[in-house]
Every structure is written in structure tokens, then in C-alpha cells.
Symmetry: C2
Subunit: 195 residues, 2 copies
């Protein structure tokens, strides 16, 4: 707790005002990053755009949430340290998110925008490629989280698209750019509030 | 050690003939699965076939090695439990394997068979999608490791190929089928020897 308090520039006593112990902080981090991921998924679902553009938004936002956020959301991948009740709660929430990603892929397949295939497996492949980045990403490395997110999204979408030429149109889609911009502004506001 | 001995159908005393403790077993599992992965990479490198077919072989073999092998190679992903010297040794070996996968992708890019891009990042995306399967795969699930490996390989390659029609040719390539068949036979022989 002392180390965490130091990193957060709080006194240990102050930190104990909010959290009972390390597990509570871990749970809070995981729960709030899942909340953000689910919120973006909802935004993507209601966006009036192609399945590819919506999935692009979810992928970019997922990776930035893992690598680039204020609360150190990479922790969202570690549940085994938590008590069973908190673990179950998070796993259920994570399953709900994964189901949403799968449904997005399935809707693109039904519309003929994506090649037909196993939407559940594709969702797991995509989330795996993203989640694994926590193992190798370094904030001091040559690429920012945002650059990595964009390149990974392009690669992971390319494998799904029925026509790869539809891919070139994707990057310019205004709706996606608008939502990404909104998210970025919200992040910056949050950072300013924390800093 | 007692649980491991029971699972391996050995007496604990017999197990101690081979290993000094749990860490030694974990190290052995990780080291031998890395050896197998590197051996397949070498085979793929020397195969007279397309980069896509060679990468297909590496992907399928990597996933089967993780999910489907005798020694429970999924353990190859957990190094943090080991003493620092053993960790360093495995991480160096794993880096060498990752570099090999990256070089395979880069050679396909240079040949114009794959779209040009960041070969290092693509290698990480592919290995991430594969490694993450350890989190969700169940031997009692609806698909075998082999079925999953094939579907994942198709998806992960599709995102790289410059022409997606070259993809249809891939599945029929004799060289790949031959090497996969050889590997399968070797596995079965090993299983028979262990059983």
C-alpha cells in the first residue's frame, strides 16, 4: 500500500480512506476499465457506420484502455489474486464484453461485410492479440499506444474483411474519427483532473 | 510434487529421481516446448514453399504445442514463478523464437506475398492471439486444438496476404500437409511411448 500511495502521490492514510487494501485497488482498476470498454462497445453499437468501422473503434479503444490509461488498466487482466466473489463478478462482466465483441463480428458476417466464419473464435483471437500486448509493451518503446492500436486494428480487421479494398475507405470514416476524438478529449480532461 | 506424481502415474520418489522440485519440472516443460517450437520454425524455414505456407505451419504447430501436447506445454507461458537465472534463459530462448517468426513474416513482405508493414508487431499480434488461447481453451469444448489451430491460422494469415485469392491455394499445398503429417506421427509415437 505504501508503494501504491507513493506512486499515486497520496499519503498511505489517505489511500486507506478509499480502499481497504491492495485487492480493493486491483478490483477497482479492473472494474472501471471493464466499464469503459463496455461503454465504448455501446457507443460503437449505436454508431451509424459499417461493422468494420465499429470494430475498429472497439479495438483501438480496448488497446488504449490497456496500455495508455490513467488507472493502469493492464491490471484488468489479473483476476487470480482476488477473492472468489470479486473474481466471479469480473469474469461475468468480461464475458459480457466478449459477447458484445463477438456479436459485432457476427453482424458484419451476416451483412456480408466480413467473410463468414466462427465469430466467437475471431473475437477471442482479436482480444488475445490485444491483451497480450501487456506482456511486451513498454511506454519507453519506439511506438505510442495509439500507434500500436492503429496498426493492430488494421491488421486484425484485414483478416475479417470480405473485400480488402473496403479497408481503404475505413480509415477516412468520419463517424469513427469523431468518436475517437471525443474519447481522447474525455481522457485528457480526466488526466488534467488527476494531475 | 505429490499431485504431479499422481497425474504422471509415477511415485513421488520416482519423480524426485528426475527433478529436484516443482520449479525444475516447470522449467523442463517450458524449455522442451520452446525446443519443439524452434525445431518447427527451422523446418518451416527450409521448406521449399511460400511464406504463407511456412507461417501456416508455424502457427498450427505453435497452437498444438500449447494446447495439445504431452508435457502440458501451456506452462511455457509462465516464467515468473522461476528463479531469475532460469527466467533469463527462457526469455532469451523465447526472444530467439519470436525473432524467427518475425523474420518469416518480413521475408513474405519483401517477396510481396504479404502486404508491407511492421513485421515485429505482426509477429507479436499473431503470437498473442495464439498464446491467449491458453486462457479460454477447454479440452472438453466443442473444438479440438487442431480445429482451432487451423481456423486461427487461416484468419491470422488472411490479414497478411497481399492477395486473398492466394489463400485458397495455400490449404492444398503439399509441402505443408507433409510436414504437418510428419509432426502428427511423431507426436503419436511419443504418446504411445509415454502411455
Amino acid at each position: 500500500m505504501r508503494d501504491i500511495a507513493e506512486a499515486a502521490e497520496l499519503s498511505p492514510a489517505n489511500l486507506y480512506n478509499y480502499f481497504q487494501g491492495k485487492n480493493d485497488i486491483l478490483f477497482f482498476c479492473q472494474d472501471s476499465s471493464l466499464d469503459r470498454m463496455i461503454a465504448t462497445l455501446e457507443k460503437a453499437r449505436s454508431a451509424k457506420t459499417s461493422a468494420a468501422a465499429r470494430l475498429h473503434l472497439v479495438i483501438v479503444s480496448h488497446l488504449r484502455c490497456l496500455l495508455d490509461e490513467v488507472e493502469g488498466s493492464a491490471a484488468h487482466l489479473l483476476t487470480s489474486a482476488l477473492p472468489p466473489r470479486q473474481q466471479r463478478y469480473l469474469v461475468t462482466k468480461r464475458d459480457r464484453y466478449e459477447l458484445g465483441v463477438r456479436n459485432l463480428i457476427a453482424s458484419g458476417m451476416r451483412a456480408g461485410e466480413f467473410v463468414s466464419g466462427d465469430a466467437a473464435l475471431m473475437a477471442r483471437a482479436i482480444l488475445g492479440a490485444l491483451n497480450w500486448s501487456v506482456q511486451w509493451f513498454s511506454p519507453d518503446g519506439p511506438m505510442t499506444a495509439e500507434e500500436i492500436a492503429d496498426k493492430l486494428a488494421n491488421y486484425l480487421l484485414r483478416g475479417l474483411l470480405a473485400k480488402t479494398d473496403s479497408f481503404k475507405r475505413l480509415a477516412g470514416e468520419r463517424e469513427v474519427q469523431r468518436v475517437v476524438r471525443e474519447e481522447r478529449t474525455a481522457d485528457e480532461r480526466k488526466r488534467a483532473a488527476v494531475g
